[in-house]
């Protein structure tokens, strides 16, 4: 069993477990945020399952079209919708100069990915993550200005920003592939991403309680 397979399988297991857990939370209290988070985890884990299965059964990545990427685009779309749902009208009007850091960091990365890979997929996924990053940076500073339980929204935004940052690190590292062993930092970042994805659930629970 290769490191890649173990890494992917772990990510699939963790996101599926988080999805089941969120589904149970939605079943218990019917909050829409939990449903959207369930959809995020479900589509992410489905994409990961397809990818892992492809490597496990055929020992190579898809040759014509990456179906898993569609599932990952869907998952980020659900995450973006969740971020929008959790924001208040006041938060949407709030402006902070730090939000400009998101396109400054992400746009050069996007150009790099387009040079190394598929144009359409990278445009969509980077566009989605940039908008999500923009919302999260704004939400993070807005929540910092609030008092009491409203401040707990910072946990959610921190978790989302961690996921986006790790995703970008991962995509950048995939452009400079070293090896399929643990000497490749790609796998370490992917392990961190698995942890960050799982940490999103307790972070959102804190936010929903706010």
């Amino acid at each position: 069993m290769t490191v890649e397979l173990i890494d992917n399988f772990l990510q699939f297991l963790f996101t599926m477990a988080a999805g089941i857990w969120t589904g149970i939370l939605f079943y218990r209290n019917g909050k829409q945020a939990y449903l959207l988070l369930t959809c995020f985890y479900a589509t992410f884990s489905l994409g990961m399952f397809h990818w892992t299965l492809n490597i496990l059964l055929f020992s190579y990545t898809p040759q014509v079209f990456y179906v898993s990427e569609l599932a990952w685009i869907a998952s980020f779309m659900f995450l973006l919708t969740l971020g929008y749902t959790l924001s208040t009208p006041d938060e949407r009007k709030f402006q902070h100069p730090a939000v400009w850091l998101v396109p400054i960091i992400c746009l050069p990365q996007m150009i790099l990915y387009i040079i190394h890979g598929d144009i359409l997929f990278n445009l969509i996924i980077c566009g989605l993550t940039m908008v999500q990053g923009w919302y999260s940076v704004r939400g993070f500073f807005y929540a910092g200005m609030q008092s009491g339980r409203q401040r707990n929204m910072q946990y959610f935004h921190t978790a989302v920003l961690c996921i986006i940052l790790l995703e970008y690190c991962l995509w950048t590292l995939s452009c400079f592939w070293i090896s399929e062993t643990l000497t490749n930092p790609y796998f370490w970042v992917d392990f961190l991403l698995t942890a960050a994805l799982f940490a999103l659930l307790p972070a959102m629970r804190k936010a929903v309680e706010a």
Binding site: G47, F58, V64, F65, L70, M77
Partner: protein
């Protein structure tokens, strides 16, 4: 060579006559069934076209091209229904499942004409496996659309998300089938298990008091 358009005409003709005879009440059921078969016919052409464009072999075509084309095609009649006729939420789910059933039926008929009908056991497994897979994909989209089309801000991301989910599910099924051996039997059982799990979850959700509430604002809670 299989003349699938001739098969389509042969199957759609009595259904069309039945539609006219049965009256307005049953129009939608027959029309969605014919639409499902029609999308299956068109999918076959589009699949062949893309397989030719990308120079894909049989495994790549069935695992990477067919799920995308077929799920998009299945959604098109429903999108037309949603945008033009603005149906009630309950009608969306039924329409999608009938389209999926029509699609699966026509696909099975084409499979029968190509590979013969001698082995009943294989046809039973294939019929229930592939048939159930199309119904599961239809149910993912149908039940999901029933929910997301009630919320204007969720329509676009929700529809796209559901389409991607059904494509990936279909691709996982085709991947297992394409691999053969034991994976094939796992694939045939997968949709039945998913259907059973989905139906159980649906019954459990229905019993909850907040199921029909549809709360849209988190902050107000």
């Amino acid at each position: 060579m299989t003349y699938i358009e001739n098969i389509f005409v042969c199957i759609a003709a009595p259904l069309l006559v039945a539609t006219i005879s049965m009256g307005k009440k049953y129009y939608s059921i027959f029309m969605f069934c014919i639409a499902g078969m029609g999308t299956c016919l068109l999918s076959a052409y589009i699949n062949s076209f893309f397989a030719g464009v990308y120079n894909a072999d049989l495994i790549n075509a069935t695992t990477q091209i067919a799920p995308v084309v077929e799920e998009i095609m299945k959604l098109l009649p429903l999108l037309f229904y949603l945008l033009v006729l603005e149906p009630k939420p309950g009608e969306i789910k039924n329409a999608m499942i009938i389209v999926a059933a029509g699609f699966a039926t026509f696909e099975n008929i084409c499979c029968l004409t190509q590979s013969g009908a001698e082995q009943l056991s294989f046809l039973l497994i294939r019929g229930f496996g592939t048939g159930a897979m199309h119904i599961v994909c239809g149910a993912i989209a149908g039940y999901g659309l029933m929910y997301v089309w009630q919320r204007s801000w969720l329509k676009v991301p929700g529809t796209f998300g559901l389409l991607c989910a059904s494509i990936t599910y279909h691709a996982v099924y085709n991947l297992l089938i394409a691999h053969g051996s034991t994976s094939r039997y796992i694939a045939y059982g997968l949709p039945i298990l998913t259907l059973a799990a989905g139906m159980t979850a649906h019954r459990m959700m229905k019993a909850l008091p907040h199921y029909e509430r549809g709360d849209s604002s988190l902050r107000s809670e």
